[in-house]
C-alpha cells in the first residue's frame, strides 16, 4: 500500500502531461471540427470537397504516423517547413486528427436536422448564417453528445501515443517505474488514473445529456 502511495507523485506528473494534451486538443479540435463541418455542408462545392479530402487523409492514416511526420518531416518540407518542439508537435497532430473525426460528428448532427427547420427559419426572414447559429446548431448538441463522448474518451487514451516523441505522459511514467522496480503495479495504478479520468468525462456527458433532454419531450 505504501508502495502504491509512493507511485502517486510521479504518476500524477505524467497524468498532468496527459491532461494538458487532452484539454488543449479538445479546445482546438472541437471548434476546428465544427468549422470543417460547416464548410463541408456549405454550398461552396470546391471547398466542401477539399474538406472531404482532408478528412479522408486524417482518418485514413495512423495518428502516430501524423505525429511523427509533423515532428520529424515537416521541418524539411519546402514552403510550409515549420519546426515544432515535441509537445507542440503532438498538440498539432492531435488537434488536426481529432478535428477530422469531430467534423464528421458535427456533419451528421447538422444533416439530421429536419428541412422544415430551415424552411421555418427562412420564411421568418432568417439568413443562412442566422439559421445555422440560432436554429440548427443549438439543436444538434443533444444528438451528437453520445458520439462526441465516445471520441472524447478515446482521446484520453490516445494521448499515450506521445511516448514516441519521448514525452513523459502517464503511461510512459508508469512504464519507467515498471522497468526500474520490476513490478507491474504501476501499470494497474496508471489504469486507475485513466479510469478516473474517463469516469469524470462519462459523468460530465451524462449531465449534459440530461440538461438537453428538457425540450425533447
Amino acid at each position: 500500500m505504501e508502495y502504491v502511495l509512493s507511485l502517486l507523485g510521479p504518476l500524477s506528473q505524467g497524468a498532468l502531461v496527459t491532461l494538458k494534451l487532452f484539454v488543449i486538443t479538445l479546445a482546438l479540435a472541437v471548434p476546428l471540427g465544427l468549422a470543417l463541418a460547416l464548410v463541408r455542408v456549405s454550398r461552396f462545392r470546391a471547398l466542401a470537397r477539399l474538406v472531404g479530402g482532408y478528412i479522408w487523409l486524417m482518418r485514413g492514416t495512423p495518428l502516430m504516423l501524423q505525429m511523427l511526420f509533423i515532428y520529424f518531416a515537416l521541418p524539411f518540407v519546402p514552403v510550409v517547413g515549420v519546426r515544432f518542439d515535441d509537445f507542440p508537435a503532438a498538440v498539432v497532430a492531435f488537434a488536426l486528427n481529432y478535428a477530422a473525426y469531430f467534423a464528421e460528428i458535427f456533419r451528421a448532427g447538422i444533416q439530421s436536422i429536419d428541412r422544415g427547420q430551415y424552411e421555418g427559419a427562412k420564411v421568418l426572414g432568417l439568413s443562412y448564417g442566422q439559421t445555422m447559429r440560432r436554429i440548427v446548431l443549438p439543436q444538434i448538441w443533444p444528438r451528437i453528445l453520445p458520439p462526441l463522448s465516445n471520441e472524447t474518451i478515446t482521446l484520453v487514451k490516445d494521448t499515450s501515443l506521445i511516448y514516441v516523441l519521448a514525452l513523459n505522459d502517464l503511461l510512459r511514467a508508469a512504464r519507467g517505474i515498471v522497468q526500474r522496480d520490476f513490478t507491474t503495479t504501476p501499470f494497474i495504478v496508471a489504469a486507475c488514473f485513466y479510469l478516473v479520468m474517463t469516469l469524470v468525462l462519462t459523468w460530465g456527458f451524462q449531465y449534459l445529456e440530461k440538461r438537453y433532454a428538457k425540450y425533447d419531450a
Binding site: D114, G116, Q117, E119, G120, A121, K122, V123, L124, G125, L126, S127, Q130, R134, I135, P138, Q139, K214, Y215, D216, A217
Partner: protein
C-alpha cells in the same frame, strides 16, 4: 377578373400577390402549368384540389421556398421573379428576395416550430434576430399574440409539450410577430386530429375577420366555403377555375371541379 371580386373590396383593389403563368417542373415532370392567380388586400383565397395537384408547390413558389421555371411573380407590386421574351426566368438579387419575402408569413402543415425554444422564444426569435428588436420591446407584443391565439399560459412550455392544435396556433402567432402583410397557409390542419382542427380554424377565421390577407391551401371544404372570399381549384398542375366561394360551391363550372367536389362533399 374584376367581376369575381366581392363588392367591398372593389374600391381598394390593391394586388398583394400577382402570379402569372407560373411553370415549375421537378426532374422534368411538370407540377405547375401556367398557373395564374391574384390575391387582393384583405382577401382570403382558399386553394383546393386533390393531392399532387401542385397547390402546395404553388404556395411554396410565392415565398421562394421553391423557385419557378418561368412566369412572373409580383409581391405588392415588386418583382420577385420574371421571365423575359427569350423565356429566361430570373430572380431579383438575394437581399431583395429576403426583403420581399418578409412581407409574407407562412404556416406549415408540419408546424416547424423550433423545438429547442419555448413557446415565447419561438415567437420573439425572428423579431429579435431579423429585426434587431430588444427582448423587452417585443415580449409584450408576443404575449398579446399568444393571448390572441389562446396560449399565453403556455409561454414557457417547449413545443414537445403541446398538442398539434396548440403547436399550429403558436406557429400562427410566430408568423404574425413579424407583422407580415400576407399570410400563407400550407394545409395548416392536415397533420391534426379532427378534434383539434377546430381551434386552428377558429384562429384563422378571426384573422380573416380582421381583414388579414390570406392564401390558404386546404382540404377543409367547410373553411373554404365559410371563410374564403374566393376559392381556386387546382388539378394536375393547372388552375382549373376560381370564383367567389358561394358561387364556386353552388355552381362549379368545370367538369373536373364538379367531380372533385362531388367526391369531397
Amino acid at each position: 377578373m374584376p367581376n369575381t371580386m366581392p363588392e367591398a373590396l372593389l374600391q381598394t383593389r390593391e394586388v398583394m400577390i400577382s402570379a402569372q403563368d407560373i411553370c415549375k417542373a421537378f426532374n422534368g415532370q411538370p407540377v405547375l402549368r401556367k398557373v395564374s392567380l391574384d390575391l387582393m388586400r384583405g382577401e382570403v383565397v382558399a386553394v383546393i384540389g386533390p393531392s399532387g395537384s401542385g397547390k402546395s408547390t404553388f404556395l411554396r413558389c410565392l415565398n421562394h421556398l421553391e423557385t419557378i421555371d418561368s412566369g412572373q411573380l409580383l409581391i405588392e407590386g415588386e418583382v420577385l421573379a420574371e421571365t423575359n421574351a427569350a423565356g429566361i426566368c430570373s430572380y431579383v438579387p438575394e437581399a431583395q428576395i429576403r426583403r420581399i419575402g418578409r412581407k409574407m408569413g407562412m404556416v406549415f402543415q408540419s408546424f416547424n416550430l423550433f423545438p429547442h425554444l419555448t413557446v415565447l422564444e419561438n415567437v420573439i426569435e425572428a423579431p429579435m434576430v431579423v429585426k434587431g428588436l430588444a427582448r423587452a420591446q417585443i415580449v409584450p407584443r408576443a404575449e398579446a399574440l399568444l393571448a390572441k391565439v389562446g396560449l399565453l399560459e403556455k409561454r414557457n412550455s417547449y413545443p414537445a409539450r403541446l398538442s398539434g392544435g396548440q403547436k399550429q396556433r403558436v406557429a400562427i402567432a410566430r408568423a404574425l410577430a413579424m407583422e407580415p402583410d400576407i399570410l400563407l397557409f400550407d394545409e395548416p390542419t392536415s397533420a391534426l386530429d379532427p378534434e383539434l382542427t377546430g381551434e386552428v380554424l377558429r384562429t384563422m377565421r378571426e384573422l380573416a375577420q380582421e381583414k388579414m390577407t390570406m392564401l390558404v391551401v386546404t382540404h377543409e371544404m367547410g373553411f373554404a366555403r365559410e371563410v374564403a372570399n374566393r376559392v381556386a381549384f387546382m388539378d394536375r398542375g393547372e388552375l382549373i377555375e376560381s370564383g367567389p366561394a358561394a358561387e364556386f360551391f353552388a355552381q362549379p363550372k368545370h367538369a373536373r371541379t364538379q367531380a372533385f367536389l362531388h367526391n369531397m362533399l
